[in-house]
């Protein structure tokens, strides 16, 4: 097992600098093709077989990650999930605007709401400011996600990523899809349920984290009903 871990670490450190390397698939394919100068179809098949074996071994390793060994998962291997806002695939679910009548009603009482919110004596006002700045820090906080492949799906390398708490779960789904170049992917939290894609990641992390990470497992087909 330790041999396996080393080989994983090596491959990880290989892609460490290249944060958005297209995927582990292409990286390894290239490396192996270059290394052994295999160009014909049958050899590609054998590479696929080897990749499958490699993926299976990595899946096994994935299970071990529950109790990470020293140096196994370090911040160095983490990458940041940021999805560019491409029009056709935009998934950023910001708060919706309000309907006109509602906003009118609220506009009328807005001053009162704001008054009510800020109508505090200085001491409390300061407390509130501190609270607000804390909140904004929390909002900007990034949390950890650990990916687990289910079945015969390629692992995501490195398997731990960080993401801003404000993002919806759809960002994670899109990240997995792009990373693995898959058309459809099914993502689950804690091997149990598929959350609403509009759900805020920070809320999910608060509620379902194990250790310090949200465990997201993914599969090419339906895995949990």
């Amino acid at each position: 097992m330790s041999g396996l871990l080393e080989s994983e670490s090596e491959s990880e450190s290989g892609t460490e600098d290249d944060l958005f390397a297209d995927s582990i698939v292409s990286t390894n394919l290239d490396a192996q093709v270059d290394g052994s100068r295999l160009n014909n179809v049958s050899n590609v098949n054998s590479i696929e077989n080897r990749l499958e074996q490699y993926s299976r071994r990595l899946s096994l390793l994935g299970l071990e990650v529950e109790h990470p060994k020293e140096g196994d998962v370090t911040p160095d291997y983490r990458i940041d999930i940021t999805i560019e806002d491409r029009n056709e695939n935009s998934v950023l679910v910001e708060g919706q605007n309000m309907p006109a009548t509602t906003s009118l009603i609220l506009e009328n009482i807005k001053r009162n709401i704001d008054d009510k919110i800020v109508n505090l004596d200085d001491l409390e006002d300061n407390k509130l400011k501190a609270l607000r700045s804390n909140e904004s820090q929390i909002d900007k906080k990034k949390i950890q996600i650990r990916f687990q492949a289910i079945g015969n799906v390629l692992p995501i390398n490195p398997n731990t990523c960080t993401i801003s708490t404000e993002q919806p779960f759809a960002t994670v789904i899109l990240f997995v899809k792009r990373k693995l170049k898959m058309k459809d992917v099914y993502c689950y939290v804690n091997n149990s349920f598929a959350p609403n894609p509009q759900q805020n990641i920070g809320d999910l992390w608060d509620q379902f984290k194990i250790g310090n990470a949200l465990i997201v497992s993914y599969c090419a087909t339906v895995a949990f009903g």
Binding site: V93, G95, Q96, N97, M98, T102, N196, G225
Partner: protein, 295 residues
């Protein structure tokens, strides 16, 4: 308790749906095409999509009997798209922000003698940002609802085992109870998921200020501690300390299934009576629309 469950379960909402020009055949563009429908508060509005489309079939610019995979239908309220994947009652309470007590007065001012929510049905090839497209009709909606229950079960019990062990027959009975509005079947199965001593309570808070947002708060119940059972106020105060500063504020209220909720009630007691059909308790935060209260 049974009586409250029954009242919540049978709560209804009057909808008036007009057809947006994007979905109309050209000949009828000048006529307002509307239909009225009463739906249960505790359901997804898309359950009634087929009925509504059928009523509009003569005016739609596409044939509803053919598969139109590139075309999506969705509802909007004053140009704001409705997220179909939340109970329609919770959306109404949040998006109109009319406190239950003020509804009669405000609606009469607008010459509406009945409490009606006016929505628009839109059609297009590109669905508004943030909406979940429906590509597999009822099956997709059923699966989404099942996963909501799995999530709720996880929050209540610390794992989804209880619902995972449901047989196919149980799931079918559960789904039928929602579709056919059979409260006793629904309660039978919901009770199997709900423990008497839950770990956490599954709640979704809908807020409309400063914009529409949903929050899944982490509500832990500590059965050993004296004050381990949080009240509605404890939850709202910890999530929105700026808005819920005191229990006695009349400007802001917590509304659930169209009812103003006393803030001192224990959140799990409220959950037992007011839970929605997706296993979550949906709370809407409403600001008082009566200006006199502020003067």
């Amino acid at each position: 308790m049974d009586e409250i469950r029954e009242l919540v379960w049978n709560g209804g909402l009057n909808l008036q749906i007009s057809l947006h020009p994007s979905a109309m055949v050209v000949n009828h563009l000048k006529d307002p095409i509307i239909t009225n429908i009463r739906v249960p508060r505790d359901c997804y509005i898309v359950f009634y999509m087929k009925v509504i489309l059928k009523r509009f079939r003569n005016y739609l610019n596409l044939n509803i009997n053919e598969s139109n995979k590139d075309c999506f239908f969705w509802f909007e309220y004053e140009n704001v798209p409705l997220y179909w994947n939340f109970p329609i009652g919770a959306l109404y309470d949040t998006m109109t922000n009319i406190m239950p007590n003020d509804r009669e007065e405000i609606l009469l001012d607008r010459n509406d003698h009945l409490n009606i929510w006016k929505l628009e049905l839109h059609c297009g090839t590109k669905i508004p940002n943030g909406l979940i497209p429906i590509i597999d009709e009822e099956e997709q909606i059923r699966r989404y609802w099942m996963h909501q229950w799995k999530q709720a079960c996880y929050i209540l019990n610390g794992s989804s085992k209880k619902v995972m062990s449901f047989s196919m027959k149980d799931w079918q009975k559960f789904w039928d109870s929602v579709k056919k509005r059979n409260l006793s079947d629904f309660n039978d199965l919901a009770m199997k998921v709900r423990p008497s001593h839950p770990r956490n309570v599954p709640v979704i808070i809908h807020l409309n200020y400063p914009n529409l947002q949903k929050k899944l708060p982490f509500i832990k119940i500590d059965h050993d501690a004296d004050n381990g059972h949080p009240t509605v106020f404890n939850v709202l105060n910890s999530e929105y300390p700026e808005i819920f500063k005191s229990k006695n504020s009349s400007e802001v209220q917590c509304v659930c299934n169209g009812v103003i909720i006393p803030l001192e009630i224990l959140i799990f007691e409220l959950y037992k009576r007011f839970l929605n059909f997706d296993g979550f308790l949906h709370l809407s935060i409403c600001f008082s629309s009566n200006n006199n209260q502020f003067n």
